[in-house]
Symmetry: C2
Subunit: 196 residues, 2 copies
């Protein structure tokens, strides 16, 4: 009976699973999954056309095995030069970055690269609508923050983070729905089309 | 004097270089380079905000050497689900695919994936402007083809390719300029803003 799992092993497996569920990278993905699921709903129902851009990767080496698909054997992640998401809502170009934080009291701006903030500013200058989607995991709340607001806050305060209380007062709470787990479009409809 | 290069070796190196310059993949990149250079010019001069999306890659295995950047050791190219380029021109969302062909008489539609054509159609339906940029290498000519035109041609003819003569008559020749090697924006300005 050597291979039969004992209580200890089971406990350790459960512990591992718990760790997996609670770790940072998985938490980072849950907002991404919610946004992607919402985008899929919008696409199918012809409400908006929003896609996540692929992660930029520098390919160094590729193998071509006989009659088979190319296999990349050496590559590295690049720093993104733009944001993760862009698309169209009723003729208006939109562009945003989605981030979540475990921090209870503030959003560290180090989570967003400076060239991403610069890109959001460019989108605004070229007539598009740009924003951040921020999830506070501890509070189970997700906010839409128009770039204009962030720009004003950073210019006025020259800070490296934005307090949760400021975001709660100035941002827009995004509703969670069964089929649209991060329904940011309902907020955009209010902001861009007065709910029409 | 064994290692000194002889005439034969030099000739073979020249031959290799010639092959490299003439081969298909390099030809494929020259239009991409021209579009990228034009986009860089538009960006710097605040004329338009257009970016090439990263190539979608499925990462299977990543190594984390000590204190060094993550190294991807196994990955594969994915079929793109959208087009290569999108952006904003004076508040209007634009979306396009750029392709070149060595064929003298026709553009094979097999160069453009069916889900890319579907995506161009969605862009149009959501209020954006979508098109193809097609370079005929033999004729040294590059055309902008609004998606609407392609859609009508395919619907009417149910063909697998579009003749060069049809594109020459119905498409818009894109001017080549020193700093803007593929100046598609000058065509868009005429189409979208009547040259204003």
């Amino acid at each position: 009976m050597i291979n039969y799992p004992n209580g200890k092993k089971t406990k350790s497996k459960l512990h591992e699973l718990k760790k997996k569920v609670n770790n940072k990278s998985n938490l980072g993905q849950s907002l991404e999954n919610d946004v992607n699921a919402s985008n899929a709903y919008y696409l199918i129902n012809n409400l908006a056309l929003v896609h996540k851009k692929p992660t930029p990767i520098t390919v160094v080496n590729v193998d071509f095995p006989k009659r088979a698909a190319a296999k990349i054997t050496e590559a590295y992640y690049q720093l993104p030069s733009t944001t993760d998401y862009n698309g169209i809502v009723r003729g208006i170009p939109i562009d945003f970055e989605a981030k979540q934080t475990k921090n209870k009291t503030r959003l560290s701006l180090s989570l967003i690269h400076s060239h991403q903030l610069k890109h959001l500013k460019s989108v605004l200058n070229h007539g598009g609508y740009s924003f951040l989607i921020i999830r506070f995991v501890f509070h189970s709340e997700t906010y839409l923050l128009p770039y204009q607001l962030i720009h004003e806050y950073i210019s006025d305060n020259d800070k490296k983070s934005i307090p949760y209380t400021w975001i709660r007062e100035n941002g827009y709470l995004i509703p969670e729905k069964l089929l649209i787990p991060c329904d940011y479009l309902s907020v955009l409809n209010l902001l861009l089309f007065k709910g029409a």
